[in-house]
Symmetry: T
Subunit: 166 residues, 12 copies
């Protein structure tokens, strides 16, 4: 029976350098997603105002999607032979953006703040997609799908913010 | 609170030129899909002949798939900051192919006509896929999946048309 | 086995004149419904503003209902021995109303425009119901149910448009 | 955007007089249904005797059906431009029948009392059906279906009350 | 407690003459439906030929529909105070049409034979619908819906029988 | 391609004599089951009395089971190369028992009459099981399962008929 | 066999005085709940304004919850040996609050009025919870859960009413 | 790695004395529940008489509930560090009540006997609830819910036993 | 109506001697199954060790299967005219095997003990199967299916116990 | 704990000789089933012609059934203490029939070829059924059910091949 | 319409002091739960070793439960008029325990570490339960249920850690 | 009607050379997948040892996934105009790897052997992905998704094999 530890193994056909590159990129995405789903839940609880119920309910399926994205990214790290870090400490160690600024606040204020969070996360996702082109098509494909879903939710957010100049 | 109109915004990390290119490509696909699902329903209602029931029922799930593809494409346009056009007038304004030619007709005649519709739609989809390679991977990935599904249905159609060389 | 074409047959107990009358009426309803579900989807994609999500989601089940109504009406035409026309060309050939006027616009503008579309479709449905009284009770019953559902959705639309006289 | 109140609007193709007539008729049906589903629940809780469980369980789906009928009738009033009244005060203001007479009692006594409630409600429904023939076929069709369901439940009730003359 | 037999009671608001008329009409429909669902199952088991599977599977949901129609008609008889007769003997006592003529036979032969059965049943249904106009709208509405469903299935049957005039 | 008719073929490994024997036995079972499910529905509609609802509802799942048994038996006949006869005429041609005797009647009377029907059907099933021991184990196994289910339902029927000798 | 009436019996281990106290408290809760679910449905039908659909749909699951609470409270009364009163007359006999004041009105007006109804019902529920501490822990636990659910819905209502002091 | 056996551990914040007290109480409840669900199944199989089917079917969901209660109680014992005893021998070792007295018997006799079983079990449950007040609120809450469910089923049982003194 | 007690009746076509034999055999199987599902639950609660969760969860569906087998066997006894005994006392009266010996114990110890229980139950089932060959094929078929399921679970148990001789 | 390997153990009450016989028979059935479900999928992909869709879809549920049969047979081998061989090599080692002969071909050609495959598999199954009569009734019962299902599918296949002698 | 901000309102019948106390307690529980579900997912991704799959899958439903507990606690804070803090920053501001210590590690090491996390969370929950006794029974009841669920999961964890002293 | 055979047709916009290249690549993948799902089932049946149940159950969903991958690949071949070969003979004709080596064996031995199978299949999949970049993006996208899923399952397998270096 196998006696050596297998944690450094990676998929056959993928070089050690590529695997290390991908793992590093994905750990950043994992941090961003874990921070994001906590933030979205926080908004879910603190949003108020005349159109409360629609926005309150619109956020929950997005929380689920972001959590599934975090899960997929973390399990991809493990599949590549890495050790995904998912604790609070992992997030705070490298986070270079500020904690979400609002507490209890009205719908349009929260939506505008979420819009800014998504600008940051999506820009980083697109940079990661480019960086993965040569390293690993499987991981790139995973991020392409997740990015498309994030962008669609951002459309929902932005659609609320439009007020025509009539 | 935000006071300016947001309808020209696009995902962070995507240039204005790329966004405009993608929107133009997708509006053509939307027209093609809206025309196609109306046509498929039309066949669903007008096909007759000895193998009626199988073909009648085979078309309905494809109608649903094409409608979902139209929805995904139109929502992608909105996500990119564009305004998708989905009315009858939008289709007729740029349509450069003829209205579906058959009314009540036998199964093999309708299947041969559908086969020709799919030849046109798929060729245009593949050209769009190529054009999107540099503009937006998220949109390209969306069209790749839809094209594969259209091609599979075309196989179903063609499989009925084969008659051994006896 | 049977060698003659059966496409002109109708249900036993229904005269040829009545069948022809009903088919003509239903083809108009089919055109109206096909135009309407495309229009509703178009609004679904283009509506924006502070109460976006509720209205965006309210439209989708109505799209499904109108598509089911179109399907029922078209299959009734076929049942009566007619050939339902469901292509874009069929709609434009006899359409005597303008293409839906709005693109990307705020919620109340779209709702007011939908309200006008429903005024037209429902008035035509009620005229058709009356015309069918003597021709075919089965078809009349079909339209009665569809009209009731359209009117209920119009109530949803109108309820949004009320603003108290302050 | 629209500034006038829309609450007096009605479906296109329906006269103001007919709408007023239908609303008045439906408000009476709403009162009867709201009274009836409370009464049925009351019986559900107070019936006892050797065949308790079958009758206890038979009532619950009928409660649901009557509540759905009340909902459909009230929403039809709103669709016609009226304001349905659904509070306790609305019922007592015009009720011309006595409160349900029994408390805890045996199965056959409750069933006989329910039978009398249904005699009253059904007779009023049938009168309403006739009165709606010229005013609004959509509403009439709604009541026809509800009346058929009430009559079927009354058959269930009456079937228990038969005891052969041995 | 109630001591008299209740089996002759009818819905309040319906005359004894009308109830008797409706019951008589419905007993004929019950016989027709019971004969029909047995016949359809018989065909389900005996049909053979190159397009076997589609036709074999198309029949089963229609069997279920016809059985549900028989159930609804019979329970309506009981609701009106009558005693529905559902045995083999009830069918044979008044049946004025011949037993289904085919055993194991090819698809087009069975479909042509079913087409003739439906001609008879639908013509009788339409006559019953007319006769019920003045007697009982609830029962008429029941038959209208069932007739529409039967006519739709007949379209399915007839669609298989068309063969182009080549 | 195959040109000869295949309707006389049977499963490989089963002799022509055994197949003929089994088909004959199963046609008798099919007649009994078709008669029985019509009878059970007839009782479902005509039973009355203080414990109506429990018995009325107890019969419907048994109707479904008997119909499934008829279907399985008929499809087994076809599998063995025979042509199952499922029409009213097939039943009356060989039926050696009387039509079900009761119309509208009280629960215990109907249950006692059903009990007698089951005595007949089960005794014939058990005789058929014995006769199939040497002819075809597959068919025998089918009947064993159906017989066990019929006997269980008969226990339900009989359990209602017990009245302690106090 | 048991010959005496059992309606005054209560759970073993619960004194007659405690049972009487609990029944009295619960009858008041039943009246409040029955009044409340009628009122909520009334609002469901009469609310209008720009955020109609979200509030219209938010109320229906709360109606279901309140009806389930009424059912649980009434069945607890019966379990304790009492006779729950659920008719319109039962409500009006002891009701010390006014009928719901609004008819067709805008969203914020209805929400503010509902908020006041909940203030009353919740205050009474909390008083009942205290009173039940010594009498019956099972009933107290039932009310604790129901009170928590009512308070959560009131948060939904109140969240809509906040408008920042800008 | 942990090398010592952990079976004596308990939740943090709960004293060893309290844990021991709770475990002892729960083992008695487990014995009572295991005995009760066997008894209820026994009645399910042995009850006969005119209202057989309703009572036969009423018992099965209660069997499931009691089995779930037994499971919850036993797993709570394990959670507290104890070893739940669930065999036949565990029941007989401490059982101080007689085996259920009836075999095949009529409905009212079985219901009266079940009523007595529930009197015993519920009284013991209420005593246990009191004893747990100071020891462990989590366990007490578990028993409160189970006791309420048992009392509700006893109401079902008792409701059948009432026969008015008319 | 029927006045004699029916509890000694049996299926038509089965002799009194055979029925008595089968009932006696099945009562033993019922005792074994009731003992077994209590034992399996006991293990479910008391098993510990490194592979806890898999074994803990593997047992629950088997508990359900054994309970369903007990139910089927007991209802077969009733169907044959017997009175199944399902109480604790019924088990202990004839049980000739010891109570399950283990309390809290490690996975392999419990699995080895379960393996021995299954050896006993399966051997007795196979003896019963043989004894039923001539008495009642329906009952034999029931036991054959149950025995196969028990044997499959025993394979699951045994598969855990293998440790290769390396 | 147990240290010896258990792989040679068998169900109690089954002799070593019988177990060995059954295992050998089942390994042959496993090979036949694994070959058959691969073949059926192969046909599913390669069939073409005018009635393509019905036959294409008819095959998939049969693939599932054959795979479930393979699973049941293999797990029965393990239950009896044997080691089922399920690899490609296991099939080819003893296979005495030719690989399926057709590639892309028309419907009737594939159906005729499948018919021949089923003749072989069913004949072998029936021989196995006979051989198991004395060795193990549990295994025999398993094969009887699988054989009946295979024969029913063969009826579907053959029904397509019939062409009347015109 | 209401113009003042409502965020400081609380349920009627609850004092401002009690509300403030409860909110403070719940914010601590929210922090603990948010930290815990991140930690559990981290373990889900990093656990390895021979019993990997069981433990990997056992954690996911617990993650869902803890997330639902966090949601319930946060929504209770909002219901009481407070503003729940759910971001990473909220956790780190008051957290007085260390980040989870392990990365990729074997099953027993992770389980032992989780066991210690649960010891801390449960002890704090029990202290909160006591502190809520006088402040708010609704909130206390919420925590009682959550604590019981946490303790049950800890039993699962501990059960894996036992290794007999052989 | 079309008379020529269509089997050499391919999607519009794809060259004949590219189609031929893709078909060849996919036939190799089909062989690998068909071999793999047979092998995985073989392991499912033959794995034994202390952690049997978790691994036994972990394999079945992977079997389903691999079978779905085979189906998708084969149908893609047909869509491209090729004829997929799925028989045992197709696998053995080109297979250049040995049959799976183990029979009944312990969990870690089987997992290590599966790990080696996955190394081979994944390396070939990655080579195929590269080769498809220029030939057909639709097919490449299909393989990218399948490869990701295979790699994730391999992580599950490898996670079991780790044993810390203590």
């Amino acid at each position: 029976m196998a006696t050596k530890t297998k944690s450094t193994e990676r998929p056959s056909g993928l070089s050690a350098e590529d695997a290390a590159t991908v793992i590093e990129i994905l750990q950043e995405r994992l941090n961003a997603y874990n921070d994001l789903h906590l933030t979205l839940k926080h908004v879910h609880w603190n949003v108020v105002g005349p159109s409360f119920i629609g926005v309150h309910e619109m956020i929950d399926p997005e929380v689920d999607r972001v959590r599934l994205s975090a899960d997929a990214v973390a399990e991809r790290i493990a599949t590549l032979g890495g050790s995904p870090r998912g604790t609070v400490g992992a997030i705070t160690k490298t986070r270079d953006w500020a904690d979400y600024p609002l507490g209890r606040a009205l719908v349009p204020d929260h939506l505008a703040a979420i819009d800014r969070e998504y600008d940051r996360v999506i820009a980083d996702n697109r940079a990661a997609m480019d960086a993965l082109e040569d390293a690993d098509l499987v991981t790139q494909d995973l991020l392409i799908g997740q990015t498309g879903a994030l962008e669609k939710f951002q459309w929902f957010v932005r659609a609320h913010l439009e007020t025509a100049a009539k």
